[in-house]
Symmetry: C2
Subunit: 150 residues, 2 copies
Amino acid sequence: MSDRFFDDFRPGERFETPGTTLSESMLLDFAYRYDPQPFHLDVPAAAKSIYGGLIASGFQTLVHAYRMFISEGVFAACAMGSPAMDEVRWIKPVRPGDTLRVAGEVRESRPSRSKPDRGILRMDYQVLNQADEAVMTFSITHLLARRPTS
Amino acid sequence: MSDRFFDDFRPGERFETPGTTLSESMLLDFAYRYDPQPFHLDVPAAAKSIYGGLIASGFQTLVHAYRMFISEGVFAACAMGSPAMDEVRWIKPVRPGDTLRVAGEVRESRPSRSKPDRGILRMDYQVLNQADEAVMTFSITHLLARRPTS
């Protein structure tokens, strides 16, 4: 998949990653660095919260999902960064031991009007847990290089 | 600020954090964990990219900003999580040595219709660099506890 360019993506095309398990230790470590709120960081306090136990920071679910997707190499040859992300929804709590995988689907694809070397790809991402429930969704606008002409 | 509840926030109210500097080492460490793309992770490759040098992952700017804001304690007494984030825009690259601060402004505030113990606060966030340029903006929908009645 790693030699894809903008021109190779089609609306409706879908890519899915393998799963990875998030341990309690990973949740606590992320919360300590980036989201130190009691229901992400403090096991007894989390038990007394509306969540009834520790849950992952929504930002951890997001960056973990993106990391898994990037590692698939779908954009390895053509990524030029991203100007926008929209419609981020945290649907279900992620708890210690949950196994997440990510599916990305091409929503829209159009060449850049101002820069002929690139195109704009809008991707819808869905983060799924071990019960196939969507725990999070988001949509990213990617800038991708066009296939070089010989 | 840490004893605020939903009832204490007013549209237009603004909170600003102090600045923190992001070193090259912090950029590389984050990219290695969460966003391993050449322009975030590989100094020579980044120099040859459209960015002309290493830039921070947009997700790093996001979680770093959120961490700074949460540490201010504005939501310490009342945070109940967040269902949504919208309108994430990466406006300017963040480079090694940049100093970022965050301003959060209340856009909208309304009590929950279904759950009388909480309200919904929409906050607009702006991440500013040392030249007072907005490098990133985003909007988060927060669930906040209402002030307990005695």
